[in-house]
Assembly symmetry: C2
Homo-oligomer: 440 residues x 2
Amino acid sequence: MPQCDVILHAAFVVTQDEDRRVMENASLAVADGLVAAVGPRGEVAPRWRAAQEIDLGNALIFPGLVNAHTHSAMTFLRGLADDMPLMEWLNTRIFPVERQLTPEIVRLGSLMGHAEMLRTGVTACVDMYIFEDAVFEAARMAGLRCLGGEAVFAFPTAACAGPEAALESTRALAEKYRDNGRLAVAVNPHSVYTTTPEILKSCRDLALEYNLPLHIHLSESRDETEVCLKNHGKRPVVLCRDLGLLDVPCTLAHVVDVTPEDMDILADHGVVVAHNPSSNMKLASGVAPAADMLERGMRVALGTDGPASNNRLNLFTEMGRAALMHKLAGRNPALLPADSVLDMATRGGAWAMHNPKLGSLAPGQAADCAALDLSAPNLQPMYNAVSHMVYAATGMETRLVMVDGEIVYRDGRYSRFDYEALCCEMLDIRRFALRAAGIS
Amino acid sequence: MPQCDVILHAAFVVTQDEDRRVMENASLAVADGLVAAVGPRGEVAPRWRAAQEIDLGNALIFPGLVNAHTHSAMTFLRGLADDMPLMEWLNTRIFPVERQLTPEIVRLGSLMGHAEMLRTGVTACVDMYIFEDAVFEAARMAGLRCLGGEAVFAFPTAACAGPEAALESTRALAEKYRDNGRLAVAVNPHSVYTTTPEILKSCRDLALEYNLPLHIHLSESRDETEVCLKNHGKRPVVLCRDLGLLDVPCTLAHVVDVTPEDMDILADHGVVVAHNPSSNMKLASGVAPAADMLERGMRVALGTDGPASNNRLNLFTEMGRAALMHKLAGRNPALLPADSVLDMATRGGAWAMHNPKLGSLAPGQAADCAALDLSAPNLQPMYNAVSHMVYAATGMETRLVMVDGEIVYRDGRYSRFDYEALCCEMLDIRRFALRAAGIS
């Protein structure tokens, strides 16, 4: 009888496999960080000898959700300021604090962000920030998967004296995390409006040299388009296409203000779009044509953006809001049904991570999964597991989270770090942010 | 030294009093179901001798939220069908089940709905359904406040042979719950399109006779307006005004498809609007002009609508979605700031209940409150309690809920009923609904 490390039993397993099978009274066998088997309990359980057996009872196991675009460190700014015009918010509340950042603040802010993601069933994220190695350090402490990279700007940041230094930092990260199991590196030009065509070309070259994907904010708002037209005589998507950026595997965040021609270009290049419903609503950026993109066969994932503009890192929140905002915007209650939305948060997320081992539970896939407690009153009764994930669950029903076959969260406890100590450290972070923002 | 029944201590108390004071390291003294005192711990604690003292530590006490429009029984249909055009959904999934309802199913469905509301910090709801006395029975079992009434239709329901029977049932409820502490009765004509002007007039007369408020779905969609114009030559608001309905204290649900002239009429009559962001998005009904209404000084509350079109009964979900949908719709990130949204869910809710003792924590107000655990990772760090309530909390951080000075929920346990037994009964309800919908 084959041996596995752990076997999980639950009332339901939502596999998100090719056939989107939802199994009732099912088991998931895990060996060497991979799914060894998934199927009806009566078939799987007798065939595997497990070192550890966990019966989750009335629970729903699902592939770990992927946060396809975030700045997880920004928890230290969560709720410091809201409901403000974008430029005033950035100039008076965000930038003054970010200019005084240190790697330690980024590490602690990120660890709290990763704690929130694990707490709500997210097992991987695509991250962009400054001092990104501190974000990786937090991900390592939390046990989360992370595709990250140093944000590249045309101007100096607290972390880098200029774009060359940021590219050099990305190169160092690429060397450091080559062949790392959970941590992977992307080239992260911040956006077309905070860089130059020369910087973007250097980013593309670095991505090609190290075979890295590229992650950039693109076409987030009408303002961005107007600035780009004024400065470069082209729309952002066309500019990126012409610079060869889209020839590299890309995760493009936002993609709100796009024309059908822009979408044709993006579809032709097989990019992955990270759609951020909450952030686009909170900042009044507009409605990304995600339903249209899916209809074109484009690959769309879901992200939270940073916690300063959300203010959560909760993919259940994003799933619900995605399903609802597109129904409203398209005036059609059948638009973006629950299964399409769950696909975005799982299989779409695997694309955004450029890692096909993620996003579904099938033999050979990464053993990244989580389990919801179905006895929560908002999940009673149960007719449709996918509907409950998208429309009814808050994410806080998560009882267990596994990454790479390792249980990293279970029933209020994180296995790799001391959460209470982190909460104490956040008090210092809070004092720093208030002082840096000139509030106290 | 004065005596009180219980004193709660917490890191923060969001009072929602006239001055919207947020108190740090504060205490709430409760006597005879009312707030006896609220203030800094150092001032309140030494002045009151408490029969019970509860230190909630790093928690945030807030006035119990009010769900201003719901059909709480409909948990038995949660997730049975989604993502469908409205009429197909109603005709193939909702109505066939509702035709076979019994008081027992309504009672159990409501109790699960009330369990979800308490679990997420809601202490009162405005409810409309059939077999409404079974809803009241559930509210009594849960300990929740409820303003309810039998839904009045022009046609027969499982509960009533016609509108006369529904009015008779409302009259009986009004007699039964006269002077009941937590349960109160409203006259509930379902809508203008499911009744007639004669029925609406009878509803108004009954409301005047018993001094009851009136609760109706109004101007929910463009379709409703068109049908009303065709049948009555008037828009729904004008029809209700002309029939004298708006002369009674009113809670009007939805109010999506309204003109500036409609809003003038509603403002002149001092009605309360129950805004339902999730339901309006999920059913693609449109955006109720809630920000405009608030600017006109109108009284706006927040509701979930029924769990079949949401699929939650979670006011935290509604607060977040309200804040975000109006920013997007108005293309202005400063629209509907967090404090306006919290006002809708608390003080606005008191108006919707037509009970001024609710919605704020101040001496003499009802001791209806709840407490959020601020150590949840999504609530770290803490800069602004109101921002956290609207943008960061999921509602599942609720640790304690008090209604009328009685603790009805604490740390996973309901004080008045057996939640595990209810979950078992939901299995029968589920089988009934599947059979009634013709699915199995």
